[in-house]
Amino acid sequence: MLVEEADVEDVALGATVLGTGGGGDPNVGKLVAKQAIREHGTVELIDPAELDDDALVIPTAQMGAPTVAVEKVPGGGEPAASLERLERELGTEADATMPIECGGINSTFPFAVAARKGIPLVDADGMGRAFPELQHETFNIYGVDGTPAAVSDERGNVCLLETESNAELEWLARGLTVRMGGVGYVADYPMSGAEVKDTAIPGTMSLASELGAAVRSAGEDVVDAIRSVTADSIYGEATSLFEGKIVDVKRRNEGGFVLGHVELAGLGQDHGSSMRIEFQNENLAAKRDGEYVATVPDLITVLDRESGDPIPTERLRYGARARVLAIPTPPIMRSEAALDVWGPRTFGIETDYTPLST
């Protein structure tokens, strides 16, 4: 499938639904991708199954603070510079790039890399949503080495990383982003086609695109639109959790992440009930009248009640009217090994993961 400039709009909107409140505002990534496609041509989106087993795939992403990225917009060449550094290291050219994250800003950056480099983009990712750190990857969980990895900035600095573990890759690379002015651009988890097929979550870019198109044309039935698209995917049918007004938002900064919660008071048929959503950049758990009804890694997304637009956690505000919905995560995301990396307790939430009841 060929992706044109206009298609990126849908991917970006759908990625905000899959971003579960985090992952950064995809707007800048979208504009970067649109300009790259305008200048370099359309991007071929390929299914993982189309990859040769010995093909080289190098994922690319932005790392750091989205608040910085909306101000210091990238030059455009940074992620490609990281990818090229890995090509030199590995002595062979990449056959494709792919996103490591399908939620938020990182859904759209790799389109710009694919356009600039003239290589295909694999329709898959390693998070199936948005997560904060580089070890939060199915690639990591199912045994792919994150390194060699490279991090670049807009001034032409490129740092090559070789680390003992993928958690150390995260630690060191994040330190570099601070020195690079708050954002860096990574190429990591270089993989063979066979590894992509084994470890990636397939079809997430086309799912984001379908979700975006559905939300855009849904009118008042955004929840229904999302429900019908997800029902026909590897995720599972979205379920409506709550409808209400935001009556409290609390945030605190811990180790570079924004932790907090939002309280909603019910409207319409939820009148009289309350919902509390815990977040660490992304929405992690939802409690209805004190009982957990959804937890990470299932997806919890807050939509503006009127427009249906997804609201990032950074923009949650007292008084906003919202709908909360949850989307079951694909099976590869909720294996025992996966829950050890991103189950509720790994984020300090005192409950075990219980799959959504839809």
């Binding site: 603070a65 210091k72 917009v73 009556v247 945030r251 605190r252 570079g256």
Partner: protein, 516 residues
């Protein structure tokens, strides 16, 4: 304390004017149709209120004007300047060129001259790239026929020196008179939106100049020696000099004026405001006397900016709304006779059954020469339709389940029942018809700060104090009397996904106009 003040609000349908006495009480008011050139309607309203008072024009101390000149110029692409758009940030930011998302006709209307040059800073104030003065001079000469310039530097809300140096270079190259808009004075963090707002501002400088000159001339002809102020989008005022430099801030001051005016007239500082016009009803919320802001970024003329506007729900019900009945089903709006109410509605001898006619037929009000004959079921159905829609909108704006005060203002206020569900009390204050004009007349002067503070060498409390005192200073600088300035809004957002301590702090302070 204050002398007489005159407030004028230019709306889509009507231009309202009101004069307040020394105690800020309205003593006369008028409504005139808004004219195509805007200025004629303003002058008509001005003459009305001046004719009605016993004192002379030179006793007016302040004139406050909420105008749609700038908004119309953008939406109609009329009278806009050719703008030289200069961004400082290369080699960063080149992946999204300036004006990338602008509609083609708007980009063409401002000439489409853009450049991305070396410069800019990091979030913590470090230099991103040195400014290349020769490169700037060359670009400015290349853009030499531009009417005005818009300069945006990466992280200028943290450090503005590169933008300021470029302004000096432009003036050295092309003379002191070329208007230059600097982004750090226009908007907050978010380069592309701030650049858009700055560019729109630069495009509006001639429009603002013409509008202000025309109005100052009209004041002069009538012997008005008052200080002129313009209403801003956040419900506060700015001086003429400031409005000439920052015309973009006059965009969409109307809704803020109506919320502020309603709060003032009713004395309700926290509650819901229902503003009923001829075609639509806007429902907003007032928090500590100020409009609650929307969390969504605002598009002006299809261009995304990072302005915040009042949080409003607009429903298609007003005094001129068509009332239709199909079987037992009665609906009101969204079609409306609008400003043709006095020609088309039945109480004025017209053909169309409007919401106003229903109220006249019910005997609750007496408007127009005719009294239309409407059956009881239609009256009942229309009233209950209006009640339902307004109650739903009020419920959506509320932040707690408890009943809250509701203030109803605007020309169509008679449509709203006095016993709304969810309302602790429904206020329809005196002078409700011209609440917008009252809102701009009593508006305060504000100052803001919105930038990223690094917490490596200061505590969070120190950063907050710095932001608060800078916002207060900015308010005083804009004309507020120091002893009246209060911090009215503080928002703190830590930078996510970034180790180290950085926080984005937004503070707004406001006070009343100081004595000259």
């Amino acid at each position: 304390m204050n002398g007489y003040r005159l407030g004028i609000d230019v709306g889509g349908t009507n231009t309202d004017a009101v004069i307040l006495d020394e105690d800020d009480s309205p003593i006369t008011q008028t409504k005139r149709p808004t004219t195509e050139d805007i200025t004629t309607g303003i002058v008509n309203a001005l003459d009305d209120v001046l004719d009605a008072v016993a004192f002379t024009a030179d006793e007016l101390e302040y004139v406050m004007l909420g105008t749609t000149h700038a908004t119309n110029a953008i939406t109609e692409r009329r009278g806009l300047n050719d703008v030289g758009v200069i961004r400082l940030g290369a080699p960063a930011t080149e992946s999204v060129r300036p004006l990338l998302e602008w509609p083609d006709d708007l980009e063409a209307a401002i000439g489409g001259k853009t450049a991305i040059l070396d410069g800019g800073h990091e979030f913590d104030g470090r230099t991103l790239n040195d400014l290349d003065e020769a490169q700037v001079r060359e670009t400015v000469r290349e853009f030499g026929d531009a009417d005005s310039f818009a300069v945006t530097s990466v992280f200028s809300p943290v450090r503005e020196d590169h933008e300021e140096r470029v302004a000096e270079l432009i003036h050295e190259e092309l003379g002191e008179d070329v208007p230059v808009s600097l982004s750090n004075e226009i908007g907050s963090v978010g380069l592309l939106e701030r650049e858009n707002a700055t560019t729109l501002n630069a495009a509006l400088t001639s429009v603002a100049d013409e509008a202000a000159s025309a109005f100052l001339e009209a004041m002069d002809e009538r012997g008005i020696e008052a200080q002129l102020y313009f209403g801003q989008n956040d419900g506060t005022l700015m001086s003429v000099e400031y409005a000439l430099e920052y015309p973009i801030f006059t965009v969409a001051s109307g809704p803020s004026n109506s919320v502020r005016g309603a709060a003032y007239l009713s004395g309700v500082e926290n509650g819901i405001i229902v503003d009923v016009g001829g075609t639509t009803t806007d429902v907003g919320a007032v928090t500590d006397g100020f409009p609650r802001e929307s969390s969504v970024a605002v598009e002006i003329g299809d261009v995304k900016t990072n302005f915040r506007m009042p949080d409003l729900i607009s429903i298609g019900i007003g005094g001129g709304s068509h009332v239709t009945r199909e079987g037992d089903d009665v609906t009101v709006g969204p079609q409306s006779v609008g400003y043709r109410l006095t020609e088309e509605s039945r109480c004025f001898g017209g053909e169309t059954l409007t919401a106003t006619d229903v109220e006249v037929a019910s005997g609750s009000v007496d408007i127009g020469p005719e009294s239309p004959d409407v059956d009881a079921e239609t009256i009942e159905g229309a009233r209950s339709h209006i009640r339902d829609r307004v109650e739903q909108a009020v419920d959506r704006m509320k932040t707690s389940p408890e009943p809250v005060p509701v203030v109803v203002v605007g020309g169509g206020s008679i449509l709203v029942p006095a016993d709304l569900e969810g309302a602790s009390e429904v206020y329809m204050p005196d002078h409700y018809e011209v609440a917008n004009a009252v809102g701009v007349a009593i508006a305060q002067v504000s100052g803001q700060v919105d930038r990223i503070f690094s917490l490596d060498d200061q505590t969070r409390d120190e950063a907050l104090e710095t932001a608060k005192s800078e916002a207060t200073e900015n308010a005083v600088g804009a004309g507020a009397a120091e002893e009246t300035v209060d911090v009215v809004d503080v928002e703190e957002v830590p930078l996510s996904y970034l180790p180290g301590n950085a926080v984005r702090i937004k503070v707004k302070a406001a006070g009343t106009l100081g004595d000259e």
